[in-house]
Homo-oligomer: 219 residues x 4
Amino acid sequence: MSEQDKSTLHSMTEELSEAENMTPKQIKILEAAIEIIAEKGYSATSTSEIAKRAGVAEGTIFRHYRTKKDLLISIVKPIITHFSAPFFAKKFVKEVFQDTHTNFEDFLYAFIKNRFEFVKSNIPLLKILLQELAFHPEIQGTFKKVFMEKIYPAINRTLTLYKEKGQIKDLPNDTIIRMMAPTIIGFLITRFIVQPDKEWDDEAEIKETITYIMNGIGK
Amino acid sequence: MSEQDKSTLHSMTEELSEAENMTPKQIKILEAAIEIIAEKGYSATSTSEIAKRAGVAEGTIFRHYRTKKDLLISIVKPIITHFSAPFFAKKFVKEVFQDTHTNFEDFLYAFIKNRFEFVKSNIPLLKILLQELAFHPEIQGTFKKVFMEKIYPAINRTLTLYKEKGQIKDLPNDTIIRMMAPTIIGFLITRFIVQPDKEWDDEAEIKETITYIMNGIGK
Amino acid sequence: MSEQDKSTLHSMTEELSEAENMTPKQIKILEAAIEIIAEKGYSATSTSEIAKRAGVAEGTIFRHYRTKKDLLISIVKPIITHFSAPFFAKKFVKEVFQDTHTNFEDFLYAFIKNRFEFVKSNIPLLKILLQELAFHPEIQGTFKKVFMEKIYPAINRTLTLYKEKGQIKDLPNDTIIRMMAPTIIGFLITRFIVQPDKEWDDEAEIKETITYIMNGIGK
Amino acid sequence: MSEQDKSTLHSMTEELSEAENMTPKQIKILEAAIEIIAEKGYSATSTSEIAKRAGVAEGTIFRHYRTKKDLLISIVKPIITHFSAPFFAKKFVKEVFQDTHTNFEDFLYAFIKNRFEFVKSNIPLLKILLQELAFHPEIQGTFKKVFMEKIYPAINRTLTLYKEKGQIKDLPNDTIIRMMAPTIIGFLITRFIVQPDKEWDDEAEIKETITYIMNGIGK
DNA sequence: AATGAATGAGGATTCATTCAT
DNA sequence: GATGAATGAATCCTCATTCAT
């Protein structure tokens, strides 16, 4: 697995701390914040609780993040970026366009597998994103931008390509996306948030999901 | 449209106030609470803001609802109940089992149409439910109970029936549900929450959704 | 036992309601108020709690008592009056001055016995008086007035008489009172408030108390 | 006067602040709380009033004491402890048992004198203790514990010793205590709480009190 | 960089009291 | 007389944030 691959998969918490030059305390703060906010929601989480869990003084948080909201943003923005990363990673592009996956089904498998691992490694972060997206225009803005500029075009190109290859139905891309997206996202949410404790046969589930999608949009 | 039908569709806010003997102020409080909580989330909503919007004194809220959480619960519980209502309404059962809808596709259409209208009339309520479900065990409990005791059995019976009729694939019911549910729910969320302002051709969307589902699970 | 005697002994709660023309609800309110205030103190007792315990609406209290404090006063004032009653009851005076009790010891016994029964029948009322005396100037005023005008003169006369009879030491009355009072009051407080649940041999305790007092001030 | 002696006498307010490492504001809070609670009672005292009198923000109170009740407890507990201190102080024990006071009267004088000074230096604290003892089980518990484990045994030993020495009557210790205690406590309450403003000849009063007690229980 | 005491605005909730019915 | 809905000031307490050390 290439370096790049890894970076789109493994836990962002670790990454955050590597990337920027963070003090150990700052990392503790981030970790504590993610844990608690994922559990109780941003508004219901107090900075003092974060400080306590992180083992730092209350003031320390504000040394690193001007406001509580800043802390939220600096948790949420990187996930958005990372979430979109594979869509314009060289590898992604190459594979799709250079026949590494000759058929759509293989591509779908690789894609779902990749996002599955990403979600698996970042459940609390994504829970936070999912919840707070609803309430914070800044986050919505960032998300929309990334989606419109990165994710949507990449998917568009990919779908067009496979349509040209004659492997999927000749529906408008938007329609295809509106069908596929809930199926994949719904699976991931069910798997990791609604029923995380159930014993899942992940491989089988992924394959069934692909079959369902292929029935819906495949030729 | 029968009386019964209506009761599963139209706005619950009205209904709440009709059912119980509420004072005008109490209704104002409920309406204001629903509006603001849907917009900002439960935790970020202050009782003083609710009071102001409702045009009552802050103390009045606590005369009707012992705590802020009580207010939330009394907003959320009825939606859960109402959401499940059609699944065990006589009409629902009759239609499904007495050949009113002879084929699954017709049934699906009627069902999605019905839930579509319900969601349309109760967006803020459902937004609140969706958000707060994540944080309040009491709500989770109520939801799980209604789902396991009412919704799930009804769907199960229906699917079994149509499988016997040979109209849908012979997959395990759970698998079918896991496929259909995100497709339908995903459509409704996209339609009413993610992109409520887009100009939608609802009839066309519903039909496409049905086609997609039928491709996935139909024979 | 004469009518008059009884009136200085039995529970004042009953009496209050007989005396004035009170509605049943008002009596309920008084009873509830006495119970709760004795238990938690005036300040910590809410009118709504009183209303609930009394089984009346919140507003009803204020129909009978202009303010919460009025309610306290109308509980406390009668006890003060009643507490002082025997000191100027005809019988008290007669007995002391007309040789019914020829010696001080007999008088003391009759006196302590009488006050013992009074306290026994009015514990909650007296608890309230004891507690609230400290904080409410109005109550202090009433108490001082009754004490200076009724109780103190009566005791004074009595002590002087028995001094003349040569049955008690020739100490200043004030000194005698300062010795006797805590002994008697201390006994009653210990008996009914500090250790009400202990098994007491009341007769023996009273006699010991008298002996102790007589040793201290008797000749 | 030895260091030890002093610690059983002088104002506890000072001591509290020396002992623990308190910030100046915390001391101010304690002082203000003691003043106001002694005057109006715990329940009738608001934290905002305490804050105002202490010259701090209301929030500051809760930084030092988790709840208002915590504040009360941390005022009241130390008095209980200090009140009992002399009973098991080395000096107390030594003097009693090693013939420093050969007779009971001298011992009584020293004892009353010592407690007299303690009360004099801690009137507000003791007022609070006296009032709130009635309503707070925690305080009652602490008090009972200290009394049963420290004060009562010490007094018991002392009385037994003096009985053996033949200086006091051969009554049960409990009886002796029930006589002496109200006499001494009653004197202190009259002196400092009931009539603090009267001009007292303290030395004379103490001697009279002793005489009274000795008549009652002395041989 | 880190602390933690201090703040004061704002939080939910309670309260005594009023008033239309 | 009695009700109970309504009030809004006041209650205890929490919060994000600041600042001197």
